[in-house]
């Protein structure tokens, strides 16, 4: 089995798993044994080490892959047969190609940095080992997802990372809000999985139904090397089937990558510890949908309608989330919505047919979004776990390294550039996406080029992105006010004068909610309930943020990853774009159906346009927020303008969805229970029960409890059996 360097991939897969097992089995024991300080160091080291080693191996393998000629960059390794039935075989195989190795590098590289960061961030956490158990398990599942050579393995990873995400969002499960946020993520993701599984089944059905035309003997219908070449042949003649498959898989991608109808869970997922937000909900897991679209791009390219849908959903999500971000005051929520928005960009790219640009944005986004999240975590850490930007201000003075890194992240996500000379990471990937969308001719339905539409929308969203990120940066790091100084002192039962009425109102509403509304939203809070809770908690604990608190720069294990990620955010995009390095790297498997999609639209000065969008957004942001927090965004929500208030509430979409899902679902379920369950199902179940009881009553008389009687019956049975056999044999003997 082990006969080439590529077999080292098993180490990449295995190391995080080993780390998981070590932490799960011995983590707590190590901490107990060595004491909290040393034990946590040990556990943290044991968590970072496997991931970092996997990253090193990943680099080596990628290098080797890059050395081989482009058409040979496709290695399949088989470990064992997993599912083998007559018509379907799903082996445990990994596929090493540029796409999967890119993802492996992102996952292990960014993952290792975030692990390192988490050793510092979680240092005061009691359940230290449990945290790293989940984190390592997550990396292991994510690697299965990207390395698997078939949809079955992809689905294992898909569900596995969903599980880890659930566990980590609810990491502080004693707080009911976190548990409910975890539930929300899990349940909303099930909707996506529904589409995903149906899509998978449909692929198998379509391919296996054309068995005679394809000549595939071993029934590996879920393996990419079977799907990709054969699907083209079959689905070309069945455009409807192609569209349905593409849309179903897209629903799955929507769930995992938080696109419009299903994005609801991602903002709530910020309840988890910040390293989790950075790792799972920004850099890696949420890109699984984009990865899947890339992996199966042939299926999506076959259906222009599906591509148009993808581009439009991406554009709408990007716009919608960017608008919501303006209304958020929680620093992590802003980043959460910006993640949703950036994921929308990736989907625009996939819809427009420039799949490699989507992957490019995945890569650069992993750099700067991890940077921003980790930076926000450092800020939150320094500010005694207060996440409200309204309490920040002028933090650059206290947190120079974090601040500088965050500023790099801000400029990178804004996509700022010196035209034709140099740009930060976000600039190159965003320009590739927008260029592909504006130049592409793929996402056309009913004669309208939706790719073009979403391209222009994307350009607008790029400006908005720059603007709301400026808002975040200025509220946090710049300005003259140090707003936490104005907080009421800790321990005093005074209320901040400016939001007294608000709190009273909220408390009333909370009590009402407790009486009436509780039963309707048992599994998760809707957005408005969540906001209510936050407000109450702010008031109740008032965190531990005192007016005389002095933020201090975080420890080295926390700022070192920030610096690395900042460097990647500055130079990563430039390096990967140079000589079209990334495109050449990822493209061998990119466009067999469509051919190349240009990223240089005719007659549009994209370089200047995107520069104008980024710079204009930043400029507008500075104009508005340069003076610090305006009264219109302060504590008193009634002074906010209606648009911003609506944005704060996600334009009531979340409330509507929760109402519809929980309320409507409740009515539906009640109906089911009353008419179907009580009458039909219970009738059947009870009927079977009565039948069994009746028959059993007949046989009960045989159960005398006398052991000898049982023995007698047993021998009689043996005798009867023997007699029957003898009769059988004699009959066949006569027959012959």
């Amino acid at each position: 089995m082990f006969n080439s360097t590529y077999d080292l991939i098993w180490l990449v897969l295995g190391l995080p798993l080993v780390g998981f097992l070590v932490h799960a089995l011995f983590g707590k024991a190590i901490i107990d044994l060595l004491g909290a300080r040393l034990g946590k160091k040990m556990v943290g080291g044991l968590a970072v080490l496997p991931i970092a080693t996997a990253f090193a191996i990943g680099i080596g393998l990628t290098y080797q892959l890059a050395q081989s000629p482009p058409e040979a960059r496709n290695v399949t390794l088989r470990l064992f047969d997993w599912i083998t039935i007559k018509s379907l075989s799903v082996p445990f195989e990994v596929l090493i190609d540029p796409l999967s190795m890119t993802m492996v590098l992102i996952i292990t590289g960014v993952g290792a940095l975030i692990h390192l960061y988490a050793t510092g961030y979680m240092s005061e956490e009691r359940d230290y080992a449990r945290f790293f158990t989940y984190l390592n398990l997550f990396i292991a599942f994510m690697l299965v997802l990207v390395l698997g050579n078939n949809l079955g393995l992809l689905f294992i990873g898909w569900e596995g990372v969903g599980l880890c995400s659930y566990l980590l969002i609810g990491f502080w499960y004693k707080d009911i809000a976190n548990a409910k946020a975890a539930n929300k993520a899990f349940i909303v993701n099930r909707v996506g999985d529904w589409g995903m599984t149906l899509g998978m089944f449909l692929i198998v059905a379509v391919l296996a139904g054309n068995l005679d035309r394809l000549g595939v003997k071993d029934g590996r219908w879920l393996s990419y090397d079977v799907i990709l070449p054969n699907a083209v042949n079959v689905l070309r003649d069945h455009p409807v089937a192609a569209t349905i498959i593409a849309l179903l898989l897209f629903i799955g991608a929507c769930g995992k990558s938080a696109q419009f109808p299903l994005y609801l869970w991602l903002p709530d997922a910020m309840a988890g510890p910040t390293p989790v937000s950075a790792l799972i909900h920004a850099a890696t897991m949420v890109t699984a949908g984009v990865f899947m679209l890339n992996r199966l791009h042939v299926l999506f390219e076959l259906s222009p309608l599906a591509s148009a849908v993808i581009a439009c959903v991406g554009a709408f999500t990007a716009l919608f989330a960017a608008l919501i971000a303006f209304g958020q005051t929680d620093i992590k929520k802003v980043l959460a919505y910006s993640t949703v928005s950036q994921l929308g960009f990736m989907f625009i790219a996939c819809g427009a047919g420039v799949y490699w640009a989507g992957m490019f944005h995945v890569t650069t986004h992993a750099f700067f979004k991890a940077l921003l999240f980790l930076g926000s975590g450092a800020v939150i850490h320094a500010m005694m776990h207060d996440q409200d930007m309204r309490n920040y201000g002028r933090l650059l003075k206290y947190l120079p390294i974090t601040g500088a890194a965050m500023i790099v992240g801000w400029l990178a996500i804004s996509g700022i550039s010196i035209p034709y000379v140099f740009g930060l990471a976000g600039y190159y990937s965003k320009e590739a996406i927008l260029g592909g969308a504006l130049a592409g001719q793929h996402a056309v339905a009913n004669g309208t080029n939706y790719g073009l539409v979403s391209g222009w929308v994307g350009l607008g969203v790029a400006a908005l992105t720059a603007m709301y990120m400026t808002r975040m940066t200025y509220l946090t790091f710049f300005g003259k006010q140090e707003r936490w100084r104005e907080l009421p002192a800790h321990g005093l039962h005074e209320t901040h004068p400016s939001h007294e009425s608000q709190i009273v109102h909220a408390r009333d509403a909370h009590e009402n909610y407790g009486r009436d509304g509780h039963a309707t939203a048992d599994f998760f809070y809707s957005e408005s309930e969540m906001a209510l809770r936050e407000q109450l908690e702010n008031e109740d604990h008032h965190h531990h943020l005192n007016p005389d608190h002095t933020p201090r720069e975080v420890s080295i294990s926390m700022w070192f990853p920030l610096v690395v990620l900042a460097l990647l955010s500055i130079f990563g995009g430039w390096y990967l774009e140079r000589n079209e390095l990334f495109k050449e790297w990822i493209s061998p498997g990119a466009s067999p159906v469509l051919g190349e999609v240009s990223i240089h639209p005719q007659g549009i000065q994209l370089v200047w346009l995107s520069f104008a969008a980024a710079a204009g957004g930043i400029f507008a942001g500075i104009l508005i927020y340069g003076r610090g927090l305006s009264e219109r965004e302060g504590w008193d929500l009634s002074k906010w303008n209606p648009f911003r208030r609506a944005a704060r509430r996600q334009f009531y979409y979340d409330d509507a969805m929760v109402g519809a899902a929980v309320g409507g679902g409740g009515i539906f379920a009640t109906g089911l229970w009353r008419w179907f369950d009580a009458a039909v199902v219970d009738g059947m179940v009870n009927g079977v029960g009565y039948l069994a009881a009746g028959v059993g009553g007949l046989f009960r008389k045989l159960q005398t409890g006398y052991v000898r009687g049982y023995a007698l019956l047993m021998f009689a049975g043996a005798l009867g059996f023997l007699g029957y056999f003898v009769w059988l044999i004699s009959r066949t003997a006569v027959g012959q």
Binding site: L702, A711, F715
Partner: protein, 112 residues
């Protein structure tokens, strides 16, 4: 030489005698003895077959194994029987201590 069927007949006789004993006797210790009798009947049958008709096999190595298979079965039957007797008699002791009598027919709490 003694034909195979005579061994088998003796084994069969012991087996049926044991079976009848299990059904007929009320004393659990005797029931156990009858079970031992049946097990030994089986052992005898195994050995007889092992001696007389080793199954047709492909190569010499397997043939040796199939000669030995019967004896191996006998050894393991003996081991199982020993364990079974130890535990079974322990159970009888426990029941006796609990109820001060050991009639199989009185142990009928499993009645349906």
């Amino acid at each position: 030489m003694t034909p195979l069927w005579q061994y088998l007949a003796l084994g069969l006789f012991m087996f049926t005698t044991g079976a009848i004993g299990v059904v007929v006797r009320r004393n659990p210790v005797v029931v156990f003895m009858c079970i031992e009798l049946m097990l030994n009947a089986v052992n005898l049958t195994f050995l007889a077959f092992a001696r007389y008709s080793p199954s047709v096999t492909i190569n010499a190595k397997n043939q040796v194994q199939s000669w030995m298979a019967g004896q191996m079965m006998v050894i393991f039957v003996m081991a199982v029987a020993a364990a079974e007797v130890a535990v079974g008699l322990g159970i009888i002791m426990a029941i006796y201590r609990l109820r001060n009598e050991v009639d199989v027919d009185e142990m009928s709490t499993l009645r349906g």
